[in-house]
């Protein structure tokens, strides 16, 4: 979910498609769930009056509900949808926060707009039109081609601990409202237990009620304890593999953010032990700091925050220890092999997501795909396998390519001359009007998560780019002053 990148403790092999370990897991899933072989009850389908439960009302749950009801409306089918969400996203403070960097990628902004979901300024806390890459040898600003704000920085909830009255509408609340406007019912209780009775999923809420449904959609995050209960349900579900991230919120005030961080997201490639990638995301009054690395903890966050590169971006006098809020949430780094069964489907982080980037974009893709299948193809395991699994597979295959792409980023983080080459070539591309911005577009898409990793990787091996890097190599091998290029952010 968090827009952070690159982690060396998770090698390419862990995502390889056909490892004996992975095949064994699939075999175990089949053994636990004989329906996997046959596709279960192939003719299960939604009809007028069908009852659907969506557990979790983050972006995945709300978007699923929105698209399900929207598509059902197109075919004249009336469905009853209950959204189980105990948290209140409109409440000020972190109680309704889904612990995420809160970046809506360029591609997701466009896809939502195409679907008729436009994000108003009350939701988007800052439009982002550039990335500034900071390294120990300099910084470079990479602008979006049309100088257009096409990335949105949002708050997922009511803001950090020091917020007593939110000045914004949280992203999650906005999407939830869209779903409720189409007729879904909000059930403000936590689901404690999931079971199956007569083939139908039954949810038991903390309030003691038990409800049977035609379809249950699991849209909780990986930090939710309920996911464990599905492993004992005999449907072949195994929780995703996760890693920790660090997220901090700093209050700077709108004026200071406008002056010092502007409309750019600031990303850092610094050779700090255990730190793979870090970003500062400007919002309305706050800056969100996101870190990814090995054994992430608060000490690593302190070390990063105290670097000269971070202090150069933040206002003079800024105190790294004066944070408004911080958390160490988990993110999904290896999706679920079988995120579906008869009458049950897992979407968003509880199923499959993109590696390190654009988790909300992946939630959109899986939510919409599951809704499409439920309305048009059925709710049997066979239907989900045939029509939903290809979308999940597409994301997971792309993640495998992403692992390779992130290895290259790791090399740049380790080798100073590589960082000099990157800065030199990118700066030349940015300074030159026109011309193909080969490296700039790769870095843009790596940072923003706007393009599939496969697409980025193909551009990485472009002969024209390799020639540009080769030309910059000789000068970059020589020692030079510490900062080659400093970009003033306006």
């Amino acid at each position: 979910m968090t827009n952070v990148t690159c982690h060396r403790t998770f090698p390419v092999g862990i995502l390889a498609p056909k490892t004996p370990r992975r095949e064994a897991r699939v075999a175990a899933a089949i053994a636990m769930d004989p329906g996997r072989q046959t596709g279960g009850e192939a003719d299960l389908a939604l009809e007028d009056g069908s009852r659907i439960a969506v557990v979790g009302s983050g972006p995945a749950g709300s978007l699923f509900t929105y698209f399900l009801l929207e598509m059902a409306g197109r075919v004249g089918m009336k469905l009853a949808v209950d959204i189980y969400e105990p948290r209140a996203f409109a409440q000020a403070g972190p109680v309704g926060c889904n612990m995420c960097g809160g970046i809506i990628s360029e591609s997701l902004v466009q896809n939502l707009a195409m679907d008729g979901v436009n994000l108003p300024p009350s939701v988007v806390q800052r439009g982002i039109d550039a990335y500034v890459l900071h390294t120990d040898v300099g910084s470079v600003r990479i602008s979006t081609p049309g100088e257009e704000m096409r990335i949105g920085a949002v708050h997922r909830g009511g803001g950090p601990r020091d917020v007593t009255e939110a000045k914004w509408e949280s992203f999650d609340h906005h999407l939830q409202a869209l779903a409720l406007n189409l007729g879904a019912q909000l059930v403000q209780t936590r689901v404690d237990e999931v079971s199956r009775e007569d083939g139908r999923p039954v949810l038991r809420g903390r309030d003691g009620t038990a409800q049977s449904y035609d379809l249950v959609v699991i849209a909780v995050g990986v930090n939710s304890s309920i996911l464990k209960s599905f492993e004992g349900l005999g449907i072949g579900y195994e929780r995703p593999k996760v890693t920790k991230t660090l997220i901090r919120e700093y209050y700077l005030g709108e004026e200071a953010i406008n002056k010092h961080l502007g409309t750019s997201m600031h990303v850092f490639l610094l050779d700090i032990p255990r730190l793979e990638f870090a970003a500062l995301i400007p919002k309305g009054d706050y800056v969100t700091m996101c870190l990814l690395g090995e054994d992430i903890d608060h000490a690593l966050g302190d070390a990063f925050a105290d670097t000269p590169e971070v202090r150069a971006v933040m206002p003079p006098g800024w105190q790294p220890d004066e944070k408004s809020c911080q958390c160490l949430p988990h993110i999904n780094i290896h999706g679920v092999e079988k995120p579906f069964a008869d009458r049950i489907v897992f979407i968003g982080d509880s199923g499959v997501t993109r590696l390190y980037k654009d988790g909300i974009g992946a939630a959109y893709r899986t939510a919409k795909a599951a809704a499409r299948v439920a309305v048009f193809d059925g709710i049997s395991e066979a239907a989900f396998r045939k029509h939903y699994q290809p979308v999940c597979e597409s994301i997971m295959s792309d993640n495998r390519i992403g692992e390779v792409a992130f290895i290259m980023t790791r090399v740049a983080r380790r080798l100073r001359f590589v960082r000099r080459i990157l800065l030199k070539v990118t700066t030349r591309e940015q300074d030159r009007a026109g011309g193909r911005k080969l490296l700039s577009s790769i870095l843009w898409d790596m940072f923003s998560g706007s393009a599939p990793y496969g697409d980025i990787f193909r551009r990485m091996v472009n002969p024209g780019l390799i020639a540009r890097l080769a030309v910059a190599l000789p000068g970059s091998l020589l020692p030079s002053r510490r900062r080659d290029h400093t970009e003033v952010v306006t």
Binding site: F67, R74, Q110, M114, Q125, R150, T263
Partner: protein
């Protein structure tokens, strides 16, 4: 319109967003404000219609290899989000339902154009002019 959270690009009053005859590789969604959609012929401009918030424009360029059929100009200050053809086509390959919105828009415009044709035909008849070719629906 130009707050921190405004997505898209702000066009000043009278600024051209796309010009008739230009090649098009994107479409647009109006985030705020209004735009004039104009057809230029023999140096004269005719206002086809005014488009407002949340409307999608320029979609024909996504499906046709034809120059832009009309000029789009900001009526007052307008904030517009650009949608890339490449991103759209890539997504529609995975998710055909993404075209629902476009098909709906095109369907509505055909309906509106049909209505306009009927009204023009009625106006011509009222003024005693008979169209040379019958209009087939």
């Amino acid at each position: 319109m130009t707050g921190n959270g405004a997505l898209g690009r702000v066009y000043e009053p009278g600024e051209v967003i796309v010009r008739q005859g230009d090649e098009g590789d994107c479409m647009f969604v109006i985030q705020d404000g209004e735009v004039d959609i104009l057809v230029e012929e023999d140096g004269a401009e005719a206002l086809l219609r005014v488009a407002g918030r949340n409307e999608i424009l320029g979609e024909m360029a996504i499906f046709e290899h034809q120059p832009r059929s009309a000029t789009v100009r900001a009526r007052g200050q307008a904030r517009i989000l650009t949608l890339d053809k490449r991103n759209f086509l890539r997504r529609i390959n995975e998710d055909p339902s993404l075209a629902f919105q476009i098909v709906e828009i095109m369907s509505r415009r055909v309906r509106e154009l049909s209505q306009e044709v009927l009204e023009l035909k009625a106006a011509l008849s009222a003024s005693g002019v008979t169209p040379k070719e019958p209009i087939r629906g």
